[in-house]
């Protein structure tokens, strides 16, 4: 856990306007030292803008950005203890790999051989040992990415900023680099801040995630909390898949509420951790993997509901079923692992669906 670590970056009511456009609308929050932190959101939500205010590429309209306790208001980008890995990698095409990686050492007073050794070490760290003399433009996408990482890390910044660094790679390479980045971050212990629109990537890589919509941080939490206890329908919908089922609140008493969810029936819910009410029509959210199809004479550990399969989506290791619940028009998606002895069912099959009240999230 990273909760006991000191604060590395602090946002105090940060606003950013581009003319009339309000790009950042009062950002507050802290990023801790040594944390792998992600800014996650759809395009245009302000996540890249926020990252660039840390780097110093964007001035803020009001508020403050503090790095390691120091207000960055009058500190230009070239004097901040941050380095950035750009989305396009921004590898200098007219230089060799070693010249790229050593670029930040130009003003370093150390003698040349020592700098060359530092470059070689940085290249080794990212798995590009012996690539120093290659021309930068002759590298593959994944190699460019590594050069960009080595170039940023050689200056030993307090914070490494990563602007969608994996979006240009193909799926296999991306998944490989995700793991590499996590390992690298543990090895160097530097605070990593990643901007991404890929919720899966954020969940895999981060200690904590700030989910942003329309210039605001909607929820800031660790991946598990975000996934299991999203604080709004927007977050729930953005991260993974969530079934929303209309409900009515029958009674509410402190930490518990009695609700009637369409297709599921009456349920008593613990709402002590539920997101605060926004005055919306109540719905309950359910993740696909919290619903299970019951085979043969299996019994549900908690609750069960009848259903009819409407759609079957086969994924190899998994099958997704869209199921109408309890003779209603409420359709939910559920996922089942394809294990031996558990055949893939056909459309129209009448099924029993097991679920657990504790997996329900109430939005209202």
């Amino acid at each position: 856990m990273t909760s006991d670590r000191p604060t590395m970056i602090e946002f105090r009511d940060v606003h950013k306007y581009y003319g009339d456009y309000h790009a950042l609308r009062g950002i507050n929050g802290e990023i801790r030292a040594g944390e792998f932190f992600s800014l996650l959101g759809p395009s245009g939500c302000g996540k890249t803008t926020l990252l660039r205010t840390i780097a110093g590429f964007e001035d803020i309209s009001s508020g403050a950005v503090l790095i390691d306790g120091k207000d960055m208001a009058n500190v230009p980008a070239n004097a901040r203890p941050t380095n950035m890995v750009f989305q396009s990698y921004a590898i200098f095409p007219h230089m060799s790999v070693a010249e790229n990686v050593g670029f930040g050492l130009r003003k370093d007073p150390r003698p040349k051989p020592e700098k060359a050794r530092a470059v070689e070490e940085a290249l080794e760290m990212v798995g590009l040992k012996g690539f120093g003399n290659r021309a930068a433009h002759a590298l593959s996408g994944g190699q460019r990415q590594r050069v960009a990482l080595a170039r940023a890390l050689i200056l030993k910044p307090k914070v490494l900023l990563l602007d969608e660094p994996l979006s240009a790679l193909d799926k296999k390479m991306r998944e490989h680099m995700q793991v590499e980045l996590i390992k690298l971050q543990r090895q160097v212990g530097i605070t990593f801040i990643l901007v991404t629109h890929d919720q899966e990537e954020a969940l895999v890589m981060s200690d904590r995630i700030a989910v942003m919509f329309e210039g605001e941080i909607t929820q800031l939490a660790d991946p598990e909390t975000l996934y299991r206890r999203p604080n709004s329908k927007k977050v729930a919908d953005f991260i993974g898949t969530m079934n929303f089922i209309p409900a009515t609140i029958l009674s509410e008493n402190g930490d518990t509420a009695e609700i009637e969810a369409k297709g599921l029936g009456r349920v008593a819910l613990d709402i002590s951790a539920a997101p605060p009410g926004k005055g919306e029509a109540p719905v309950v959210g359910l993740r696909p993997e919290t619903l299970t199809l019951l085979y043969d004479d299996q019994k549900a550990p908690e609750r069960e509901t009848d259903g009819v399969i409407d759609e079957v989506i086969y994924f190899g290791d998994m099958t997704y079923y869209d199921v109408y619940l309890g003779g209603t028009d409420v359709e939910v998606r559920l996922s089942m692992r394809n294990v031996p002895g558990r055949p893939v069912l056909e459309v129209g099959t009448k099924v029993r669906v097991a679920w657990s009240p504790s997996a329900l999230v109430l939005f209202r």
């Binding site: 980008a77 950035m84 396009s88 921004a90 200098f92 007219h94």
Partner: protein, 269 residues
């Protein structure tokens, strides 16, 4: 004859029409006759030695070199500023200002030459090589801006940000990153401005005063039929030098692209 054949014939006639007059230049430069007419009467290098002995010609050549080199450097420098500003910054009246910068491209040179002459005489600036340079910078700058804008446009902005992020100042970023990457554009601009200035006639003739550059001098010599073969010899040398310069420029352009791993989208050769 099929359609492709017809087009091929058209292309061949077109090329003959374009280049035949230039081939006539060396033919008559080596022809042993003062009369420029067929049939050729024999081989001689007399016109070249006559040209070589012409002191006045070397004076104009020197003038032309001063004018064209200065024009190329000044116009390209101004072009760098303008291209950088137009591709990187937003400022009020940008479209109008860029329009005014590019206007001499379509303005008849006649008008530029006349109005400059009137203004210079009115404010009492004596006509000299300097006034020619002034006029040439005016007409060459739009070409420089056009060439350099495309060079600056293709520059990824995050390259500059990366250098800045790695501790460089805006000035050293420009020197270490921007300048080397737009260098092919700068060289193209220098060469094209040089060429335009070298063979420009109207402004050179109007604003030249007593110091005539090469173009005005050649025009003057054509009034004496006896001098024409020597001028053809000069023309032959100029064609040779132009081909050499263009080939050199193209070589550097291709090498620049190969070095940065870019895709060759075709230059001027």
């Amino acid at each position: 004859m099929n359609k492709a054949g017809g087009l091929r014939l058209y292309a061949i006639i077109y090329l003959i029409f374009l280049y035949a007059p230039i081939i006539l230049l060396p033919m008559f430069a080596f022809n042993n006759s003062k009369v420029i007419a067929f049939p050729l009467s024999g081989f001689t290098t007399e016109w070249f030695s006559q040209m070589w002995a012409d002191v006045q010609l070397f004076r104009s050549l020197k003038n032309s070199m001063i004018v064209s080199v200065s024009t190329a450097i000044l116009a390209t420098t101004l072009g760098i500023f303008a291209a950088r500003a137009s591709t990187r910054y937003a400022f009020p009246g940008k479209a109008g200002i860029m329009g005014l910068v590019m206007l001499p491209l379509v303005l008849p040179e006649m008008i530029v030459a006349m109005s400059l002459l009137v203004v210079l005489l009115a404010i009492g600036v004596p006509l000299s090589i300097f006034t020619i340079i002034l006029g040439h910078v005016l007409i060459c700058t739009p070409f420089a801006v056009a060439i350099l804008s495309s060079a600056f446009q293709s520059l990824d902005r995050s390259l500059e940000e990366a250098a800045y992020d790695l501790g460089e100042t805006p000035l050293s970023t420009f020197r270490l990153i921007v300048l080397p990457l737009v260098m092919p554009g700068i060289i193209s601009s220098l060469l094209i401005c040089f060429t335009i200035s070298l063979d420009e006639f109207i402004i050179a003739y109007f604003l030249g005063g007593t110091e005539t550059p090469l173009s005005a001098y050649i025009y003057g010599q054509f009034r004496f039929p006896a001098r024409v073969p020597a001028m053809l010899a000069l023309g032959t040398i100029l064609v040779g030098v132009s081909v050499l310069l263009l080939a050199l420029a193209e070589y550097f352009r291709r090498r620049g692209i190969a070095k940065t791993g870019g895709k060759d989208t075709g230059g001027f050769l």
